[in-house]
């Protein structure tokens, strides 16, 4: 495929990054990152959609910002060892910004997301994206796309999962398995199904 024009190749590359981050290396079901909002904000479809939007936004923004910080500040100064702490700083700022924005634009969503909104800061998926981007030596476009793909993958499973949990709310589940227990089992079965994507791309 080396002979194809550059833009086609780039497009393919982007598609690969997207498919990989959404399906094959899905942050939640394959890499098991970001599980706490996945379990916490999935009891209601509406809030799951809100959380998905917020997380995707944060992930994309973080991927971009951390790339900039990495390339413009850390790399020239030889401060790669500061990546983790610098990225955490970036993430905290972006999340705080998102929190303020949501509080203003959608108070109900703000309320519904509750503690999980600030908790996006400690969502390992976010730091995961930033660090994976840095270690994979992706360029700016690719990093942003990877961040967005991670967010989209998170959103996809979170939204499906919450629709399923709404249905499970009525199920005649044995008492010891009610609530989080059956949700974990469901997530496990899902992650099993996502193994089917391995090798794709």
């Amino acid at each position: 495929m080396g002979h194809q024009p550059n833009d086609v190749q780039a497009m393919q590359e982007f598609a690969v990054i997207l498919v990989s981050s959404i399906l094959i290396n899905n942050f939640v079901l394959v890499q098991f990152l970001g599980l706490c909002p996945f379990m916490g904000v999935s009891t209601k479809l509406e809030s799951a959609i809100g959380m998905s939007a917020a997380t995707t936004f944060v992930l994309t923004l973080t991927a971009m910002a951390s790339y900039i910080v990495d390339v413009l500040i850390l790399m020239p100064l030889g401060l790669i060892y500061l990546r983790t702490i610098a990225f955490i700083l970036v993430i905290a700022a972006v999340v705080q910004f998102t929190k303020m924005f949501i509080e203003k634009s959608s108070p109900l969503l703000y309320r519904v997301l509750g503690v999980f909104l600030p908790l996006i800061t400690t969502n390992c998926a976010v730091l995961g994206v930033a660090l994976q981007n840095a270690s994979k030596d992706l360029n700016f476009m690719q990093s942003s796309l990877y961040g967005f793909g991670a967010g989209a993958g998170f959103s996809l499973v979170l939204i499906f999962f919450s629709a399923m949990r709404e249905r499970l709310a009525v199920a005649d589940i044995p008492a010891p398995f009610e609530g989080a227990a059956i949700a974990m089992i469901t997530a496990g079965l899902m992650s099993l199904a996502f193994m089917g994507f391995s090798g794709l791309v």
Binding site: M164, R167, L189, L200
Partner: protein, 355 residues
């Protein structure tokens, strides 16, 4: 004079859940016959073993939960799950493979969710996928179809089969082999025509793959019987098979070495027909509305093709069904039919009716 207070309607059609389940079980018979003819007694042993395990497991869970065992067993859903799993597993698989898979199907995928009607995933496919991931060797060892057995070798008889399954004896050389999808997938660098010419699985086949094509035809016949008796609507199976066909025609590149194979091969290989008529039509875990089932079926078809063509697994029906099960509740929220007197379809998440 006093009489009972009963809600309408008072009349009732004769159909009931047990009958539906039994009919589905019977409808697998053509497929089972084809399997047994082409691959020996293994499938039948699988089915019987799985059924026994399933009934015992279900009874045990019901006992633990203090439910009426007789009432719930009588719906035949456990039997159906076991039969489908037994048919999907490789013939002559060790007994513990069958037992473990069935236990997972019944206990984890079905009873933990509350039993029949509440399981979000197809129990048989959960069992299958767990086995496929945990025991890849046992799960990919298939039997050579009758027509391709080397001279002087035949499928093991019923006694021998039983000892292979239960005592761990090894079957004779040449009895085990790859499936058509397997061999196709792992024939890198060969043109499609070359594969068809060189591999007896294809060269001696009628139209898709030796033995397999007849198994699929068997399931197709059973499926059409069910469709005729209105056990399910055409939407799901047609969408799934249609999507597989469309995808394989779309990506059929004239038979290069990269080609994922023809539509005919995909439709009549592996678990395509069984998936389309027996697995994805499981109403509990599928989408509810007809439109939803079209989307659900198409999603399975596309996923089956994607994974078969580019994924690690040669057959993908189980994965595709589980993934679509995952999406089904979400699909349901956005595929309500248009109700009489309404201009537009509504969404399930709508708060108030827009006047």
């Amino acid at each position: 004079m006093a009489f009972k207070q009963i809600t309408s309607p008072h009349a009732h059609a004769s159909q009931n859940t047990s009958k539906v389940m039994q009919l589905v079980v019977w409808a697998t018979v053509p497929g089972l016959i084809a399997l047994t003819y082409h691959f020996g007694w293994g499938s039948l042993i699988n089915v019987v073993l799985a059924t026994a395990t399933a009934v015992i497991a279900e009874a045990a869970v019901l006992q633990l939960r203090g439910r009426s065992i007789a009432f719930y067993l009588r719906d035949y859903s456990a039997v159906l799950t076991a039969v489908l799993l037994g048919l999907a597993l490789p013939p002559l698989a060790p007994w513990w493979v069958v037992v473990v898979g069935t236990l997972f199907s019944i206990v984890i995928a079905k009873q933990l969710y509350g039993g029949l009607g509440y399981n979000p995933f197809n129990p048989a496919m959960v069992g299958y996928v767990i086995l496929l991931i945990s025991f890849p060797i046992q799960m990919t060892t298939w039997i050579t179809p009758l027509a391709l057995l080397p001279d002087g070798v035949s499928h093991p008889g019923i006694i021998e089969s039983l000892s292979i399954v239960f005592a761990g004896l090894n079957p004779a050389d040449g009895v085990t082999g790859a499936t058509p999808l397997d061999s196709f997938k792992f024939s890198d660098g060969l043109l499609v025509d070359q594969i068809y010419a060189q591999n007896p699985l294809f060269s001696q086949a009628g139209f898709a793959g030796v033995g397999w094509e007849w198994v699929n035809v068997g399931f197709l016949i059973g499926g059409l019987i069910l469709l005729g008796s209105k056990i399910f609507t055409w939407h799901g199976p047609v969408a799934m098979l249609g999507a597989i066909a469309v995808m394989s025609i779309l990506f059929w590149d004239g038979g290069s070495s990269d080609s994922p194979g023809s539509a005919l091969m995909h439709l009549f290989s592996g678990a395509s027909m069984m998936g389309a008529f027996f697995i994805m039509t499981d109403p509990v875990s599928s989408a509810a509305s007809n439109r939803g089932r079209l989307i659900y079926g198409a999603l399975i078809g596309v996923l089956v093709y994607l994974i078969r063509a580019w994924g690690n697994y040669p057959d993908a029906v189980a994965f595709a069904v589980l993934l679509a099960n995952f999406a089904a509740p979400f699909i349901d929220n956005y595929t309500l039919p248009r109700t009489y007197g309404h201009i537009d379809r509504r969404r399930a998440t709508e708060k108030e009716e827009d006047q």
